[in-house]
């Protein structure tokens, strides 16, 4: 599958995750988010940028538990609870935030 962006075809897997993380661009993130019925607010961007940095540092997409724990270390309790994250990403914070951030789907996603 592919997404049309800037007159280019960006390759994705069958579920819409980018195949190459270097194809990512913040405008492309908005297109992917729209497909997920998400309007990106600064609160969304905070999480999207966070998971992208996480991947670049640790070479793995965080599953939900690791995501909340890492967010807690960075931003404190209020932004690291799953209720807050599910409000932003109703279909699963780890799945949707990594997709919008142009990362592979977390292999251990629950």
């Amino acid at each position: 599958m592919a997404i049309e962006f800037n007159n280019q075809q960006i390759d994705t897997d069958s579920q819409g995750y980018l195949l190459n993380i270097n194809d990512w661009h913040k405008d492309l993130a908005c297109i992917i988010a729209k497909e997920e019925n998400i309007e990106l607010t600064p609160a969304h961007w905070e999480v999207v940028n966070f998971v992208r940095d996480f991947y670049i540092t640790y070479k793995t997409s965080p599953a939900i538990r690791a995501l909340t724990k890492a967010l807690k270390a960075e931003y404190g309790e209020e932004k690291a609870n799953s209720r807050y994250l599910y409000r932003l990403f109703p279909k699963g914070p780890a799945k949707q935030a990594t997709k919008i951030a142009g990362l592979p789907k977390p292999a251990r996603c629950i």
Binding site: T57, Y58, K59, T60, P62, A66, L67, K69
Partner: protein, 136 residues
């Protein structure tokens, strides 16, 4: 655990969530087939399901724990970078075999801040406390 004498123990036995203690033993060098990567995936999956996971590095497995390795220079995924994220998965018990490090001329050092360095004898003594032991 087999004979319960009070209600607290009974409650524990009835609890639907049983935490199994896993020991994952790494015996392979970083690029020896896909052993190291498979081992790490297993550890992260088990930890995501809230299992108790301890990691051991023995034999050539100790090579996985050494700093400044650049997997990408041989077009390999740098899965060793994920070791630094283990704390977010609550994997905190990491044991390295001191004998294996010494045999290979390596210092008592690794990418882990809180690893424990044990002799083969000490590792042997730890194994009975685990429910499942996997080797990679």
């Amino acid at each position: 655990m087999s004979s319960s004498q009070n209600s607290a123990t009974n409650l524990q036995e009835m609890s639907p969530i049983t935490v199994t203690r896993y020991a994952i033993i790494n015996t392979s060098a970083p690029f020896d087939r896909l052993k190291g990567k498979e081992s790490l995936d297993a550890a992260l999956i088990l930890a995501s399901y809230e299992m108790d996971v301890s990691l051991f590095f023995i034999g050539n497995g100790v090579y996985q724990t050494q700093a400044n390795q650049q997997a990408e220079s041989i077009a390999h995924k740098d899965y060793l970078a994920t070791f630094k994220a283990l704390e977010f998965y609550d994997i905190e018990d990491i044991y390295l075999c001191q004998d294996s490090l010494t045999e290979r001329g390596l210092a008592t050092d690794s990418v882990f801040d809180d690893a424990q360095y044990l002799s083969a004898e000490q590792i042997k003594a730890l194994l009975p406390q685990f429910d499942v032991v996997l080797t990679f």
